[in-house]
Amino acid sequence: MSEQRAGWTQGLYHAVLWLIALVFFAPVFWIILAAFKSSGDLVSPEFRFFFTPTLDNIGKVLAAPNFNIRLTMSFVMSIGSVLLAILIAFLAAYSFSRYRPTGTNFIMFLLLSVRMVPAPAVLVPLFLMYSALGWTGSFLGMLFFYVMFSIPFSLWILKGFLDGVSLRFDETALVNGGSRLHAIFRVVLPQVKPGLIAAAIFNLIFVWNEFIFNYILGGQTTTMIPYIFATGLKQGGATDWTFIAALSTIYVLPPIVMIYLFQKYLLVGMTFGTVRGEV
């Protein structure tokens, strides 16, 4: 009796969960469908489930001015800055975790607070700084911005992981004839691999989707795909929905694949490494 009821309640739970998931997925589904619709099918008053798919929209996106440069930049900026940021954050987290300099907690808080300030609040000062340095529109300037942007979060995640690695690992490496660098990179680093992956994924998503700083600080050769959303939005006086849909579909694919492959690390990232679960 009770077992039956338990089964029934569980069924209901699952149904509700599926429903919520589908509701959340609906806009994404709409966009993906729209990417393959003709303008007529898309703007028709009633929603058309059945239509003749077309690749015209995708073709139009691929032919858009500077699309290749933007896409390359999206990859280069995301991957480049995150790799650099993780290297720096890992070394910083190692120092904080192992040597515990006075004020560690305060410094950690300060670093994170950079990410707590809303973007518009720092946009103008940052633009002035970049102008003064002559970095606006430069590749390295943009890259360094994203490195800076990615360090705090990575540092927090990695510090959590490193605190969980016994000091005996370092000491064993040192006693076994290794140098400090050997201990850091060959012995301790492999122990926090899940943390490195979690930090990388999170920051890859952040940088991949970042628009406003890229738009203001970047130039012709350093802006990424989100920039096209802003500039390619209007076509002949009206919003070009099929273009937006096709571009979104293309742009959302890499993060979706990555998240699908590494989803177990997402929880780790969201909890700053305090919930490590099975990873």
Binding site: S166, R168, L174, V175, S179
Partner: protein, 375 residues
């Protein structure tokens, strides 16, 4: 030569003196256990030997070589910690092989060494498993194997079997015994577990409050503790202590205590009349229901059976302070004794140890011992 010598070694953590001018030598090719209660400085001493901790003052020598200023990696030592350090994501064999890779060894030689330690430590079944799937005991074996495979001249063990469960503990202890029998390295083994020390050590260095108070073979340390601390710390339970007095003049002394029916003649170079402490191991106290020669009446208040079938007795002796002391008797005799009531206790003179007012052992012999027994 790879004996370890420390000279006037001192280590201070803020107001705490962890090592108090320690002078000591760990003999070459033997197992020395550093034994002592928590916080006595044994781990600090070991960490300074390893170079992981810098001494406040004093020097460390390996043979003739002064290593005081050397970083750990240049000391050519191996070390195993309480926490089993194994490298995740690679299997047991690779874990053992990892440090060998940075040494100038041929692949064949590496393989030979790895196979050898795997065999000695009984790791064959686990050799190709990922370390993530191993229990703590096996992980610790892997950590030990990794150090042994490097063949350093000195291996330091810092409470390596404290963190594993009881069965694994026994197994590890056996593996260590076998291992140390086959190795010719100088081994320092830190523990607070006396059974471990008794099983594994060639000699035990007993530590207390940042000093090494005694270093002897396990049996000697047990039967001839240098001071009251050694008597109390070793044994389970430790020595029982009683107040006693030495009477007489310079040439002829007798021991007077409520525990001996008649004054006992005693002989010893440093003895003088006055108060002393009489110590005896619980298992050496003779307890019976009959009045044997040399026995005094006592009250048995409780008895309980111990591991190995021995009985632990709580006794009080009239005329002595009312504090109960412990005695241990064999299974049959323990079963014969009443649950509580009047019994007789006798201290065989040969088992009595005398301590001076400072707590140090007074060399003493009881020439009339045989006479008492024959009485």
């Amino acid at each position: 030569m790879a004996d370890i010598r420390v000279e006037r070694l001192r280590k201070v953590f803020g107001p705490v003196v962890a090592l108090d001018d320690v002078d000591f030598s760990f003999p070459d090719s033997s197992v020395t256990c550093l034994l002592g209660p928590s916080g006595c400085g044994k781990t600090t001493l070991m960490r300074i030997i390893a170079g992981l901790e810098v001494a406040t003052a004093g020097e460390v020598f390996f043979g003739e070589r002064n290593v005081t200023g050397l970083p750990p990696r240049k000391r050519e030592i191996g070390m195993v910690f309480q926490y089993p350090v194994v490298y995740k994501g690679i299997n047991v064999r690779e874990n053992i092989e990892l440090p060998l890779k940075s040494e100038k060894l041929s692949a064949a030689e590496r393989r030979r060494r790895v196979d050898e330690v795997i065999e000695v430590l009984g790791l064959a079944a686990a050799a190709d498993k990922d370390v993530g799937r191993l229990d703590n005991g096996t992980r610790q074996k892997v950590a030990v194997a990794r150090e042994v495979a490097r063949q350093p001249r000195i291996i330091l063990f810092d409470e390596p079997i404290t963190n594993v469960d009881a069965t694994a503990k026994l197994q590890l202890k056996r593996a260590f015994k076998e291992l140390t029998r086959r190795l010719s390295q100088t081994i320092v083994y830190v523990t607070h577990d006396q059974t471990e020390a008794m099983t594994l050590a060639d000699q035990i260095a007993l530590m207390r409050d940042g000093r090494i108070v005694q270093c002897d073979a396990p049996r000697t340390l047990y039967s001839r503790p240098a001071d009251r601390f050694g008597g109390w710390f070793l044994g389970n339970p430790g020595m029982a202590f009683f107040d006693a007095e030495l009477h007489g003049n310079g040439t002829f002394l007798t021991l007077v205590s409520a525990l001996v029916p008649a004054p006992l003649a005693v002989d010893g170079p440093q003895l003088a009349p006055g108060r002393v402490t009489l110590g005896i191991r619980p298992e050496q106290v003779l307890v019976s229901t009959d009045r044997v020669p040399g026995a005094v009446p006592a009250r048995l208040s409780r008895k309980s059976v111990q591991i190995g079938g021995q009985w632990l007795l709580s006794l009080t002796v009239p005329g002595l302070d009312e504090r109960a002391f412990k005695a241990k008797v064999g299974p049959e005799q323990g079963a014969r004794l009443p649950e509580s009531g009047e019994v007789f206790v006798a201290l065989p003179p040969a088992s009595i140890t005398l301590f001076g007012p400072e707590g140090d052992r007074l060399p003493a012999s009881f020439p009339a011992a045989s006479a008492v027994a024959a009485d």
